[in-house]
Subunit: 460 residues, 4 copies
């Protein structure tokens, strides 16, 4: 019953935790060392033999964490400890592990590799979410509902068309993730201050070979290329870009979840609720949008974390200062875990989304007469009324009904009033026909359909 | 080798982790339930007997976490599960645990109690740090050193006097912590929306008893009083205040650690280094200010976390929305752990602070002739020189020496030049006497002494 | 039709703009110079005569801005230019203006003086707002209204009791402002790096006089004392404290304004609207909570600006670096102007606050049957029903009505159903009596009254 | 001598202020109205004649600001006032200006158009800066200088190679700006809630024409296309993207300027200083890196402003809430003005960058012996020394010299010591040859050249 942090315990998936586990980190260090040794061997560095490389590869997963911990306690240096532990199981390669490099060779490249893997995980989750959203857009594209500006009644839209708002923004987020995955570069093989000096010595002044080594290792590690210029580390601007993408996903989720919370109050749209779920002991039938609230909570965190990355980048001194280290070790896993968790929560909500169409219809019906003055005037004029007189009559009733609702707390009876006013000359039936919601939703359906077409293309 | 978050693993103390451990949280829930039952009993509520209270007290630490977890899985409700687990070991009191309250009764009061305990821990650490700083101020109050404005040479100060800058700000932080500890109020006994409705029913409409219950429970839980007005929760403005104090400590630490990093480059002041500590494999004698860098890294985190608390407060809707929950569960322990860790790192640095007095003296000696024109002119005029001529001569040499240093990369020989210029009529000896650093430090020593006096008073 | 910034144009008051006007700034510089000269004279510095001081005082407002601008263009130094301009109209004092100090003497002290004046302005506005709030709390303390947790129906409260939430937090903000006004210290008379070296020379090594000068000048400028330790500037932690208080006010305003926006949708509570105010061309009767939305917009700005002050403080190097200057010149006036404007907007809203009591009553009436199961059961049992049977019956109806509302979009008829169920044995009349809202508001009225009593005491 | 905000007064260019001037804003509104009318006419809407469009075009710049202000005071609505003022000078078109749209049609499209223009301005400034940087990289690509990690001596690099760090990041920023300029979409013609309902009515239900109108207007306004989905406004995620790019430029500038400030202390690299520029009255030869400090100050502002845009986006409710308005009116011009100003300051610094090559060389010379143990050992072994003995000897001297420097404040005499140690068998000449800095800079020159090649390609 010791302290465990809540993200590890609750707000993360096994998949993401595995990516950022010590096992995966150390394994990825080893992949970097293998790529380095293999590259050095391929470029003819005599110290590094194929046999050594084979030994390293064979022992990739043969990790003795206990030994490494012991060695770290001795040396106060985690990478030295890991080199030692790897060397213990690779007696032949022992002397050439890490040859020519500084700790940041494994640390930076590993950070980039794992972040890329994590981005791929995020990408898949986001694609799934977009699929779910597309299905709901399709189902509800023609379901009219009241629009809201200033959280006050506004021109109608449709339930599905409203969902396009979030889907379009998630699609934009997905494109950013895609671009990132495509363009992340390796830190590569650059030495202590980025000048590759030790490698130039190792390769007897052969610039071409040093340059090639950098490229070969980058490719072996799954990157198209490495940064031309690094300091001891890759530029922390890369981290800004990655975590901007996560913050942007979180921001979209927060906008969406906030809207769900607002619509839940109106009972138009709700989160799915389990059979056994209980609102509160006092009010068992209460259905609180708790997942949406949690999304808002955690999105705020991911959004606000972005400042850390800007500051860390801008405050790096010259060829590197260590003030990037501790904060990145906190923020990088946290941001990926939370973002993935947020997407998962949202996917749960969307897949079981409750739309109370009749409530939506009723609310709309109530408000339409207030919005349709122009349509009513035109129809009344056709029936022989005077435009000015009708305009006056409608205004009169609207003001009276607003008063009735707000001051007396009574029902909206605008439709009845209009129908019974002889100046307007329209029956209730005629008015109702006029107030057909589908007339007021404009191009909602078509926009939703066009959006879905585009979405299918982009996510194919 | 699963994922463990780095704060739990590295950047926190046992003491702070214990405070935020599940054991302490659940134990504190129980303290709240005991206080509630005891208060209800004392105020004559028949359902709640002294026997029940005694049973609850006796079983305070008799916590079956496994049972609680099981129950939580069933009910999806952590507090219900804890009530159940407590009830299991308290068969008599079973029915009256939590009587009249909502989950936030235990959650909010526990958050306040534990944060108060954590503030006490921070307070002690900060007091220790101030003690260490005071000792160094005292030791170095008379050691002259170059001042720096724009990170360029400026009027001299002393090493100890400079340390007063940080100490004064930490003292201000300490006062804020003290005020907080004194003024934190309980959430008390308020019910679902803060109106105490259920309690009014329980006490048959007796307002006075309900009010007293709130006060009694607050006192039993260690608070002077409870908030007059709460919603379901205590106002999250209280959290803003607490975490502003932590952010402020971190900011002071960041300013201090940054200065250490700057002075380390000049070798004037350094972190202590262990015998075995190794700079880097290529440069074993390099002494990197790694603790100061880590302080900068983590302080940035705590400072930026503050935005979360402002947003969480301002975005709470009406009598409460749940978007405060997840983010507070992340941030509250994180901020306390990191702040305490930052103070500890700084205490380590200060207690072993390395001051290279001779380097400091030499740098000052080099720069003093540039700053002392007025003093030189006065002395020269006394010797019979013409003020204007001497002024001109000094300027000539200063420009020439600046050129010599910057363009030719040579030593500063201003003193020699001035001494050998017949227009000035001062020997090197005379000049050196004139350039006695202690003449230029103004009231540094006295200010340091006065500050220490005030410090002793405030921290007594 | 040139560019003018929108804060100057719209979001600020004449009073606040005057405080931060160049005229007031330069005038305050002169007050600092007068205090310095007067202090020097009083402490016996021969260069500074009473005649000079009198001349300076006489010409306090005789400011030639054109000359100063011209001089600034020549010297590239604003303070040198101002000294020159002052000297032009004070030929006797010309040589002793600014004697012994560095630019930050006038800049820092002026920043502190003007910020203190601005805090006083904020304080008065906040007191007025609290008066307005108190009146509304008093008016509506007994008006029952639905509580909301998760923006879902919760136990009733009263309109006035809800307003206490904001008032209590504003009261806490006001106390912070009060503390600030009381505790702001002067930067005083400290010289280039804070050591007072030039003054020690001026006063021939008399420490006591230098110390006294610092105190005298601080008092003349309206402060109780000056900071013991400064660098070239006063500690920027003071700015953090001031702007935390402004951010805190803004946060309270944002919480309040957000709640108004939520309640506007429900038509329970609204901003006042002018007779001529038009919602939108399409929907003239729409009443958008535009002031509340603007408050949310601008509060966000003030809250987020706080990060600037933390960063500026923490990034100051050694005895001072200039990276504090430009950002403070932007943020300090901006924050004061916006905060005052936010309070004014809110005062406008509160003073004309529209409460639609009948809507509030109706909404509550609709929801009460869902919350009152316990009360209904007790009454039914008294009438001879079986507890278990009644419990079952209520649950049955509640589920059915929820379905009816959500799925069919129909009215809530729970009351009717309960009244007509023979198992329950209560007439509609009896049920209505049972569901008297005032029974469910707990201690709302008393809490509001107690709060008002406390408020009166604190703001007296 | 009224209040004027400092950004308008000091930290902005005429060009940028003109873009955000009221004149340009109103003119752009009119361009939107012209595009709308023209589009409506082209698509056969009878109400809108070619004559009207011609009249509108003719009067584009015939703006009566006084009339508009008067009308705004009357109607409390800025867009209505502008429509009126335009109508006054276009009597024929009067009735059809703005036909079918809501205020956000002109506001959003104008915001996008002006931001795009501002991005183009930023782009040109950034290209110029990169040109200046490229020239300096080229000049100093082969000038060896000490590298710094932890702000402690590290493997050498070259002055030009170090400049590549900033240039590469600015190049990345430039690419982001380019992408933005290419991809910004119009808000287009969407109506009140984005559904284009009024236009569907205007075009008698012809979906195709409504869609075309949206596209035509977008193209007329200089965009490739318009957003498929908008609410009343374009998605505020677009603003996040734009202002992320500005924050990113500022962050690069802050990193660069911080490094200049650090290197200024060491006198390796300095800002240009004017002939007349004066450090301080006490120290006239002091050259403070004031522009770099100002860059740090203002960059902090732009970086921290980004949070506003994230929050504004995420807090938008449903089809639109007005809490985006006031904050965007503050932040959008501010961010563009400051970013452009920051780039200008940096361009000034880079174009006159002072590199003190001899100081750089001397510092390097001093540190090289500490870094070159491996090279010395190899050479000594070639001369017949024993590897282990030499290793021991070097270590001995290094420790002694470190002590001599730090404890005694004396010069570094490591080279002399090594030369005179018989165990090492190398003369001072031989050692100096060995310690040729160009041997230690690795691929710095080649990396700089390769970078410049790539840069030329990207910015062509």
């Amino acid at each position: 019953m010791n302290y465990t942090d809540i993200i590890t315990e609750k707000y993360s998936s096994d998949g993401m935790r595995t990516l950022f586990s010590e096992r995966n980190i150390v394994r990825t260090y080893r992949l970097c060392w293998i790529a380095l040794a293999e590259g050095e061997n391929e470029l003819g560095l005599k110290q590094v033999t194929r046999e050594m490389v084979a030994e390293l590869k064979k022992n990739l997963d043969n990790i003795d964490f206990t030994l490494a911990k012991k060695k770290e306690a001795e040396t106060q240096h985690d990478i030295v400890a890991q080199i030692h532990a790897y060397g213990e199981v690779c007696p032949k390669a022992k002397g050439i592990i890490h040859l020519g490099e500084t700790s940041q060779f494994v640390k930076c490249n590993t950070d980039l590799i794992i972040q890329k893997q994590a981005l791929l995980l995020i990408k898949r989750k986001l694609q799934d979410l977009l699929q779910l959203l597309a299905a709901k857009i399709s189902s509800y594209k023609a379901t009219p509902t009241l629009g809201f500006t200033h959280f006050q009644s506004a021109q109608p839209t449709t339930i599905g068309r409203r969902l396009c708002i979030y889907a379009q923004d998630f699609l934009s987020d997905l494109e950013d993730i895609d671009t990132l995955i495509d363009t992340i570069k390796a830190r590569g093989v650059k030495g202590t201050t980025g000048t590759q000096a030790t490698f130039l010595t190792l390769f007897g002044g052969n610039h071409n070979k040093v340059k090639k080594l950098d490229q070969i290792v980058a490719k072996k590690l799954g990157f198209k290329e490495s940064y031309q210029i690094t300091t001891q580390t890759y530029t922390r601007k890369q981290d800004i870009k990655i975590h901007s993408a996560l913050a942007s996903i979180s921001a979209t989720a927060k906008k969406f979840a906030t809207d769900i919370r607002l619509l839940s109050n109106l009972k138009i749209m709700e989160e799915p609720f389990g059979e056994k779920q209980v609102g509160s002991s006092a009010m068992p039938y209460k259905q609180n949008p708790m997942r949406s609230e949690r999304i808002c909570s955690l999105s705020r965190k991911v959004m606000n974390n972005l400042a850390d990355f800007y500051d860390t980048y801008a405050e790096q001194w010259l060829e590197r200062s260590l003030d990037d280290s501790a904060i990145r070790r906190i923020d990088i896993p946290e941001n990926f875990m939370l973002t993935e968790y947020i997407i998962s929560l949202l996917a749960e909500i969307v897949s079981g989304l409750v739309v109370n169409e009749n409530i939506s219809a009723r609310l709309l019906e109530n408000e339409l007469p207030f919005m349709a003055s122009e349509e009513i005037i035109i129809a009344a004029v056709k029936k022989g009324s005077d435009r000015q007189v009708v305009h006056e009559a409608i205004k009169e009733h609207a003001v009276a009904v607003t008063k009735r609702i707000k001051l007396d707390g009574k029902d909206n009876d605008l439709l009845e009033r209009l129908a019974s006013d002889p100046r307007i000359r329209l029956t209730k039936k005629e008015l109702e026909r006029l107030l057909d919601p589908t007339v007021f939703i404009g191009r909602s359906i078509e926009q939703a359909e066009e959006f879905l077409k585009g979405l299918k293309k982009s996510t194919r």
